[in-house]
Subunit: 70 residues, 2 copies
């Protein structure tokens, strides 16, 4: 089991959280997604590491953006 | 055709707008619903006037609240 965290910009409500969970959760290999609306922190659980590009793409599909690492 | 306007509090994004449109649009007699996210203004069109209590109830069902007239 591996865990990766991303900061997602632009989520404003529970509907936004649901959209991100649905898209990221649909990536093959992803077994769990937690989202903290207040901080924008998205935690992705998977058996083996998932390509960050796939995560960014799924977040974009939901209508949001992964913040660049600071 | 009659038109009534309400101010709805708590909508933050397009998903919120969709939820309100769906619930208010489902009230019998309602033929159209416009929502302005910036102002919270919800415009309800119907053939005959719709009981304001039904509108408030539908908005609450969507997870939001109609502001009291000021």
């Amino acid at each position: 089991m591996t865990t990766a965290t991303y900061t997602v910009k632009g989520m404003t409500c529970g509907h936004c959280v649901s959209s991100v969970k649905e898209e990221v959760g649909g990536i093959p290999g992803v077994s769990g997604v937690q989202v903290d609306l207040g901080t924008g922190l998205v935690t992705v659980e998977s058996e083996t590491p998932v390509d960050a590009a796939l995560i960014r793409s799924a977040v974009a599909e939901a209508g949001y953006e992964v913040a660049d690492p600071s």
